[in-house]
Symmetry: C2
Subunit: 479 residues, 2 copies
């Protein structure tokens, strides 16, 4: 019989049977106890360790169940004979922290690594943040939302919660989304064309999956939201950047062939321009002739301060294939991971199937609550309230900029959305911002081509009027 160097710690929180189990397991895996070695009987080991025999029996039962030990009827218990003889093939021994296992990554991972320009680290000293794309979460009608969450928290743990989902999303929410985008955005669709996703990023990813093969051309606006550009590049698309003019993408400079074109007609990020009707029609005609899918990210479309928002591109199109992409996080709160896409009928099945295999479905509780939030009118009421609030903040920001900076700033005033674009006369203004703890978002990382100098996106939606004034005041040359 072997010597059994088992030390028990009677004051530890780990039960004694577990300690016995752990010591045996380690001894066997390390190769110290060879396969086929006889181990002490439960009675003998209990005596050696001064513990109850049942304690040892519990440990042995578990070790036997897991294949470390085996008992031969009548002749005792042994280290399992089925274990590899060579300690080298018992894994832990072979561990070598200096040489972790080599893993070859996919081309997708390599392309993503190459394309992914990580955002600047936070300015730890920034006390006023004009860089964050966020609604004013303090204004969110939290009581109504809380009530709806409570209404549904019970239902998600009931049978039937997943009725008719299969990758497309909560049935009631799809109906409400279809009604909302028809009403508010003049999108032409049936509920069957709506796919609920985890925010607009997933909509883009699903489009890329079902449309892009490595080497295909994806036309993008330049400048363009990096999250979209990086994603298409990771999927192997050859990016064809198209300049953005005063009235939107330069249609005459679109490529001869492409699989998709990605546009943000309502409020282009970061230029802030809206695409003109003439360009919308020309873009759709170009796409239709070539069988190109247009992805319309209706980013930042809810707020137009001088009237109704301009309707979606999608609503102009009967004959071109447009995937319309929207999100609720920009209006409600960013922790809500629910967006949607409206697919042309031919793409509904491929996209829902890709979604089903990617991650099944979005969080059910929020989907159910959001359906009611839309149906009961909370969403559109909130949009109307925020339009007034953000309109004032926008005015405060732009007049303060003009007043404080004078000739040092020019502002692109488009009357839409949750940000304005400014160009400073020199890098001095941004340098003062850094020194004074005001965080600004340069447009440089949006451009593939050369970025205009000293250009910044200023986001005002999540910042109160007083803070906006103070932030601008800090940009002044002399204080």
């Amino acid at each position: 019989m072997m010597q059994v160097p088992i030390l028990l710690d009677r004051r530890a929180r780990v039960p004694l049977h577990r300690q016995i189990y752990d010591r045996w397991r380690e001894g066997i895996l390390s190769g110290r106890f060879a396969a086929g070695t006889r181990v002490p009987s439960t009675r003998d080991l209990a005596a050696m360790l001064s513990v109850a025999r049942a304690t040892v029996t519990t440990a042995y039962d578990q070790l036997t169940a897991e294949g470390y030990l085996e008992s031969a009827h009548g002749s005792g218990t042994f280290v399992s004979r089925a274990l590899p003889d060579q300690p080298a093939t018992r894994i832990r021994v072979a561990a070598d922290p200096e040489h972790p296992p080599r893993v070859r990554l996919s081309r997708f991972a390599a392309r993503l690594e190459a394309a992914y320009s990580r955002p600047d680290p936070d300015h730890a000293t920034a006390t006023i943040d004009l860089s964050k794309h966020s609604p004013d979460v303090d204004q969110f009608p939290l009581r109504a939302w809380r009530r709806l969450i409570l209404r549904h928290v019970k239902a998600i743990a009931s049978p039937g919660w997943d009725a008719a989902d299969r990758g497309a999303g909560h049935e009631g929410l799809r109906r409400e989304i279809a009604a909302y985008v028809r009403r508010a955005r003049a999108v032409r669709c049936e509920p069957s064309q709506v796919v609920v996703v985890n925010g607009s990023q997933q909509a883009l990813d699903l489009c890329a999956r079902v449309l892009i093969d490595a080497g295909d051309v994806a036309a993008i606006e330049d400048p363009c939201y990096p999250g979209a550009r990086q994603l298409f590049a990771a999927h192997g698309a050859r990016l064809h950047p198209v300049p953005v003019e005063r009235d939107g993408i330069a249609v005459s400079r679109l490529p001869e062939r492409a699989r998709l074109v990605f546009v943000t007609p309502s409020h282009q990020l970061p230029t802030g321009v809206s695409m003109s009707l003439a360009k919308r029609l020309a873009l759709l005609a170009w796409a239709r002739e070539r069988g190109v899918v247009v992805i319309e990210d209706d980013y930042d479309s809810e707020y137009r301060y001088g009237g109704e928002p301009v309707p979606a591109l999608q609503g102009l199109s009967d004959a071109a294939s447009v995937v319309y992409v929207g999100t609720f996080s920009n209006v409600m709160f960013p922790g809500l991971r629910i967006g949607y896409l409206v697919a042309p009928p031919a793409l509904v099945e491929p996209i829902t199937s890709a979604r089903w295999h990617a991650d099944r479905r979005s969080a059910v509780l929020e989907q159910a609550a959001l359906a009611d939030f839309l149906r009961e009118g909370h969403f559109e009421r909130h949009v109307r309230r925020m339009r007034r609030l953000y309109g004032r903040r926008r005015d405060v920001l732009t007049s303060a900029l003009t007043e404080v900076l004078g000739d040092e700033v020019s502002i692109s005033c488009d009357g839409v959305g949750m940000f304005v674009v400014v160009r400073f006369s020199s890098e001095r203004v941004a340098a003062r911002a850094r020194r004074q703890g005001v965080r600004l978002n340069s447009t440089a990382r949006y451009y593939l081509g050369e970025a205009p100098p000293h250009e910044y996106v200023l986001r005002f939606s999540g910042v109160g009027e007083r803070t906006l004034r103070e932030g601008v005041r800090r940009l002044a040359a002399v204080r």
Copy 2:
């Protein structure tokens, strides 16, 4: 001046200015009103239609803002000259429902379509469902969950909700998951290796993204969960099926080269076997030698009715690369879209980056509530309660089967998990089930190779004891 055939419906819920807008928009898009045509003044049109002039002005302002009309100072308002001349390039006209735009799909979409064997349609007549993989949601501690949801519903709409996420998940939840899998599954990990995902399917998808290029070999168990097999196939993997023996995957029949191997060591679906220790070690040695990543889906591991669950494969490995995949939906309720993976250090960055570009993050509210649910011990208490309940149900099911069907059934009794596997002596038993409204899940669609005849997975976890007895009674030859 043109004739303006605008008919207003004064009893409609659509405001009059909107009706005027809609009619003009349609007329212009259809090409009926050519570019450059002068339109009536607001005063004239208001008189023609007998509406207030402000109503027409509102409509004209919107039409002008959207680019349908333009006004030349002093000379009136015109259909925008920038619009394409040819009605053919105005999109709606070109619509041809007989010939929807052709869209070429990606190879991913084509492969998915080829691989995706849709599940059988529901038996509309089934009144007893033994096919559904679901916990008993009636037993879920809904009051505790509801309290935690309420605790956090406010926090999600506050700044800072997204601290340190960047694709990896809620920081507190990652800590709790790391502590849980160390404690309950003997997984060796730090919180930094945990990535929160939307259920285990997303974990598999992320692994496929960062590991598989088209043509790479993915070794899978045969039989295997179709959702995994189809996904790897869609990513372009060449599937290498490896038979499952009584003690797990046939290690000697693994391929010479592969990028990954997908296994379910705790409770293989649908055979129900657990992988022996000897095979676990041999599998890890095989993988380590070749740099193959092992994906361990720790599916259905929580319940072992005769003792502690067998620890995870991952905990045996220092030197091989194992991605450990787990989910909470199987224990809590399926509408909860939260799972996790534990990645080897070298894969953490590629996987979180792929996650960030796929869909950013999981629902924040449930992540925060789940962190507390784990921390306060609710989860493990629930597992313990369910282990007793499901253990009884399992006994009820298996003894009823033996009693009622006798020689017509053989049952694989493994003492683990939320299902048992049975083989009937002929197809007659399943035919009786169909006739009597009892839904069973054939194992046929799990097999790539030939499936054993008359084999079924019976799921008992979501079905009460009385219903289990009644379901089995209906399988009897003579009633």
